[in-house]
């Protein structure tokens, strides 16, 4: 079990409260992108492909907190861009901790040791560094298009763990990933001592013109079966076990595109973290004004056909956990036995 009890309790009570209130569309994780600027230029990453004046923009802490309050999700994920390049990252995290939000600060960790040395953060059960790691040294450096980044990330992980921070990893798998190498990578991360791992198939951002290296659904199911069907006892995942079963093709889920709403310098992104089909000025407008029936597998939308990404389906898995005794039982069994 890798997610702390207090965090599980917070999420469980939040979901049950939403259900008791009869809310059909509620967020689980706010994807808060304070900036698009990054110190890497990973091929195929649409987040960084903007003109200079857009890359120089960032949200104010006040804008971030207004979005957090509007949204109300119990978990705030801070991706980007590279959030450690955000000049106000320390004050932002401090405010979020004060609001008792569980924070996943998604970073490539290049700047992590430097920021820790500078005293930007304080360890807290609410703060987890979610380190971008797409595999062992060779695969990771290739994925981020720069040699040496894997070693920098490992150094950052070690330093954060030494200082008492929660550390997880997030891994995106692309076409051509080797199951054997991924399993070795999981072993390596566990040996490093991270709290848990997150894994998801890659997806082509709508404006990043690269479909061929992103996994199709059947291929993704086969890959995750080979990786996860015989998990090692020591592996810990910081995500819903039902989502892992979905990745293996054991469950068939529909997307919950409002589960992980995204806020950035353009506003509230419609309809989800991956597709950029427009922006709403308020969270209420995002929820009420988005034509949700146009998205998800059942919609027939080509862009959604092969998507299996956590930001759309993990919320579905969490909802299943709390919407039926069977879902709850399956989650408990998978969590206790460690078998996906």
């Amino acid at each position: 079990m890798s997610v702390p009890i207090s965090q599980m309790w917070t999420v469980a009570s939040y979901v049950l409260t939403q259900r008791l209130r009869g809310r059909k569309q509620y967020p689980l994780v706010l994807m808060l992108e304070p900036l698009f600027r990054c110190n890497l230029a990973c091929a195929g990453c649409g987040k960084i492909q903007y003109p200079g004046q857009i890359l120089r923009k960032h949200l104010t802490v006040e804008q971030c907190l207004k979005a957090v309050d509007e949204c109300g999700a119990p978990i705030v994920s801070i991706p980007g861009g590279e959030p450690l390049m955000y000049p106000e990252i320390g004050p932002l995290v401090k405010e979020l901790v004060a609001r008792r939000k569980y924070i996943y600060l998604c970073t490539n960790a290049i700047l992590l040791k430097e920021r820790l040395d500078a005293g930007v953060f304080t360890p807290s059960k609410y703060l987890s560094f979610s380190i971008h790691m797409d595999g062992l040294r060779e695969e990771h450096d290739e994925a981020v298009c720069k040699d040496g980044v894997f070693d920098q990330a490992v150094e950052g992980i070690r330093e954060a763990l030494r200082r008492g921070y929660r550390v997880t990893t997030n891994t995106t798998l692309f076409e051509g990933a080797s199951p054997e190498r991924v399993r070795k990578f999981f072993d390596a991360m566990m040996e490093l001592g991270v709290e848990g791992m997150m894994v998801s198939p890659g997806y082509s951002y709508s404006k990043a013109p690269d479909q061929e290296h992103f996994l199709r659904k059947q291929r993704a199911n086969e890959l995750f079966q080979r990786i996860l069907s015989n998990p090692k006892r020591g592996w810990r995942f910081n995500q819903s076990p039902l989502f892992l079963q979905f990745l293996m093709g054991k469950r068939d889920y529909e997307c919950t595109p409002w589960g992980n709403p995204t806020f950035n310098v353009f506003g509230w992104q419609r309809p989800c973290y991956l597709l950029q089909e427009g922006y709403a000025q308020s969270f209420e407008d995002l929820i009420q004004g988005t034509r949700w029936e146009r998205y998800g597998k059942r919609s027939g939308n080509e862009k959604c056909r092969d998507c299996m990404v956590h930001c759309g389906f993990e919320a579905t898995a969490v909802q299943e956990t709390f919407s039926s005794w069977r879902g709850f039982r399956d989650t408990v069994v998978a969590t206790v036995t460690g078998r996906a």
Binding site: G44, Y50, Q53, D210, F266
Partner: protein, 115 residues
């Protein structure tokens, strides 16, 4: 490795086959600055980040070249949009990077200069 097709440099004029709404949509998808040419003859150079063709008053939204804005401009005020800025996505696909890396490896192995 041939880069993906880009609209960089394109200066369309709307007509029956290419309505303004389509040009706005292409500008919204374009990862670079564009020049919005207004019906009053003025122009605004910057990044179109949003549009709503289904709104009661269809509009686009953009930041100017200095990051100022956002400016909301009704479609009715727009004559056309020219794709004048550099396409910041062109040549940055994973496939293009892989091809470059393989070319570098091949060149390194043969001792020939990297193309």
């Amino acid at each position: 490795m041939e880069d993906e097709k880009t609209l960089e440099g394109w200066a369309p004029e709307p007509d029956a086959d290419l309505p303004l709404a389509r040009i706005v949509e292409l500008a919204f998808d374009y990862r670079g600055n564009t020049t919005v040419v207004k019906r009053d003859g003025t122009e605004l150079y910057g990044y179109v980040f949003n549009r709503d063709a289904e709104a009661a008053v269809p509009y686009l939204e953009m930041f100017d070249a200095d990051g100022g804005g956002p400016y909301r401009i009704p479609f009715a005020e727009v004559r056309t949009i020219h794709f004048t800025g550099k396409d910041t996505a062109a040549g940055k696909s994973y496939a293009a990077w892989l091809a470059r890396k393989q070319a570098e490896k091949a060149a390194h192995a043969t001792g020939s200069p990297v193309p």
